[in-house]
Point group: C2
Chain length 375, copies 2
């Protein structure tokens, strides 16, 4: 019998409750398909930080890097300034393990209420591949008074003057700035992944950028996209400005097959995508390093106000669990979990409030595990 | 009789066709309300650029600065690399005239088909105030090989190492980067405007940011928001991460009254907002400098594939025209244009294809002008 060791970070807020359901369903799948998972719990999150001052240490990360896949609940707590936990744990892990693919399926399941008119499951079935280690997520920035500000504004003026013959004056003495960066390797690897994925699907890759304004960073993105696209003459491609793609996600989701996007825009459009597929309670994601340690999580946050109420929908987490065991090689079990989720939704007997039901988090986990074992 | 001089930049693609309808309706309003507009045409756009090599000169901008309001069609052409016209004309004007407010009403008019289920005009009626001169729109960025790259990566490493005790390695030899900047004055003035606006509405201001990741630039934004909010204790406030707000725009548009947002996020969420209000054909915007030269435009682009076909919806442009004459002090005439638009839509007799009709651009302009004169 196959044996897997999987580290679990339940995290904050509703994290622990939903992770319990995810493990429950994976354990049921193990029973059925003949594998066993040894769950190794990690305490990192808000409470641990408040108690010990530690976010996640390099030692813990090194230890975690011995595993192929981590199961993550959710990170974030109102008691702590925004960004501290997110950057110190979630982004630290994505960067440390070089999980350069953030894979987010946008799939409207049969029986799910879609907030968009006239869209059915056949219209909403695409995948967003979000670059996950670069762009504006690198965390470089700062504040400046006169010195730096004058320099930066000088660059600005020079640039506009040179390009457009203008003389723009700004004399603020206090500024904040942020720097984004993408590299050739970082861009090419996520595009290669996207084109390879499209080859197994509808052979269509849509790129997202804002090359008409953030031309330096996203002009480069476009060039690399064209380079990689040239290796896949059978794949249809298009460029989408990030502002416009928010419209198409609502109006024409059926247009998309694989969407490849820089990190920050990917963050934004996948929340919208989650809504189009029926809500955050149904949206899973995988942070993937194909040759290293990956990490699977629901894309929703820690929803502190629902903590401990056995109220929220565990489906995103259970679905992320299916992605996790697929990564471990248990494809059949993964498919079986997704089809159990689909049956639970179609039967519409055991559902949480967000889907119009009145059951608890654990009821839904139980029901999906039951269906899985029976099917 | 009041006399106004208004510069017009019809621009590219469908720009000239829709601007003709906008002028037609404003002229009708002038007839009815006793004012006269002298339209001064400017040629700037793709054709002019291809013929002369000029985008827009400082002389032209200086000349334009003698006027209170400019009427703009749309800028952008497939024959030219993305960004050249947009930055060289549209953004150059926004920056040159220091039009720090980009005002975008998101209002679902009675009779308009909303793509979101269960939402009616009373649910969709808010205003986005987009900062319009700073953030990632300043156009600072570049590419680097070893030298710069090593420096930047060094900052990155140092930052992550210091903050999180990590050692992140990246060794790309070729990168592209982009810098965003916001200033204290730039942030405060757009927030003051937003709170003043909210005082005349539902007294609720929602701020947009991504302070949990782009903490340097948007942590500063939050602080300034709190500073200005303290002067308005009667105004309800909240913070929204940009990813989450795309969901709320779809799920709970009724929540919003005034939304204040940094430039780039404002670009993204107002396209989504336009979709929620029934489509880009219905979404107007104003680039406003309350003490200088403002500029009004539809928020849609130049749609080159529809150029010269008398096909697209002129309503966004006509509505932008109403905002323009309101800025000139003709509030009654402006209201009358908006109510003529509403009647045209409710009657549903003369409509372009995007609204399910089969009429042309000019038919809709004629119809709105007729209704205006008759009402
Ligand atoms: C919590 C936050 C740092 C994170 C992100 O911005 O990537 C989240 O929004 C996500 O999409 O996974
Ligand atoms: C054309 C483009 C430069 C512009 C922008 O990004 O501001 C447009 O999308 C808008 O929203 O007015």
């Amino acid at each position: 019998m196959a044996q897997y060791k999987v580290p679990v970070l339940p995290g904050d807020g509703i994290g622990p409750e939903i992770i319990v359901e995810g493990k429950k369903v994976i354990d049921a799948a193990g029973e059925k398909f003949g594998f066993d998972v040894d769950w190794i719990e990690y305490p990192h999150g808000a409470d641990h930080y408040l108690e010990t001052g530690e976010l996640i240490s390099e030692d813990s990360l090194k230890e975690l890097s011995n595993y192929e896949a981590i199961y993550l609940g959710s990170i974030g707590d109102d008691r702590i300034e925004p960004g501290v936990l997110e950057k110190g744990i979630l982004l630290a892990a994505r960067f440390y393990f070089d999980q350069y693919i953030n894979l987010r399926p946008i799939k409207l399941l049969e029986g799910v209420w879609c907030p968009i008119k006239d869209k059915t499951p056949k219209d909403v079935d695409f995948v967003v591949v979000r670059e996950n280690t670069e762009d504006f997520y690198i965390g470089i920035g700062g504040r400046a008074k006169t010195g730096m500000s004058k320099d930066l504004l000088e660059v600005n003026r020079t640039l506009y003057n040179a390009k457009f013959g203008l003389d723009i004056e700004t004399d603020s003495e206090e500024i904040a700035y942020q720097i984004g960066m993408i590299s050739k390797e970082g861009t090419q690897r996520v595009m290669n992944y996207s084109f390879d994925l499209a080859e197994t699907r509808e052979k269509h890759v849509s790129s997202v950028d804002k090359a008409n304004v953030l031309s330096d960073i996203y002009g480069f993105w476009r060039e690399e996209f064209n380079t990689i696209a040239a290796n896949h003459p059978d794949v249809k491609t298009d460029f989408n400005f990030v502002d416009a793609i928010t419209m198409w996600f609502v109006k024409n989701p059926e247009w998309f097959d694989v969407v490849v996007t820089p990190n920050m825009f990917g963050d934004i459009i996948t929340d919208l995508g989650a809504m189009v597929q029926g809500g955050l309670g149904l949206a899973p994601g995988g942070n993937i390093n194909p040759n290293g340690t990956s990490m699977f999580e629901p894309i929703h946050g820690s929803a502190p106000k629902y903590k401990g109420q056995n109220k929220v929908n565990p489906i995103a987490t259970i679905w992320a669990g299916a992605m996790l065991i697929e990564q471990l090689g248990e494809k059949e079990a993964a498919d079986s979990i997704v089809s159990a989720i689909e049956k639970n939704i179609l039967e519409a007997k055991v559902q949480t409030y967000d889907m119009g039901g009145s059951n608890g988090t654990s009821d839904v986990g139980d029901d999906i595990a039951r269906i899985l074992l029976e099917q």
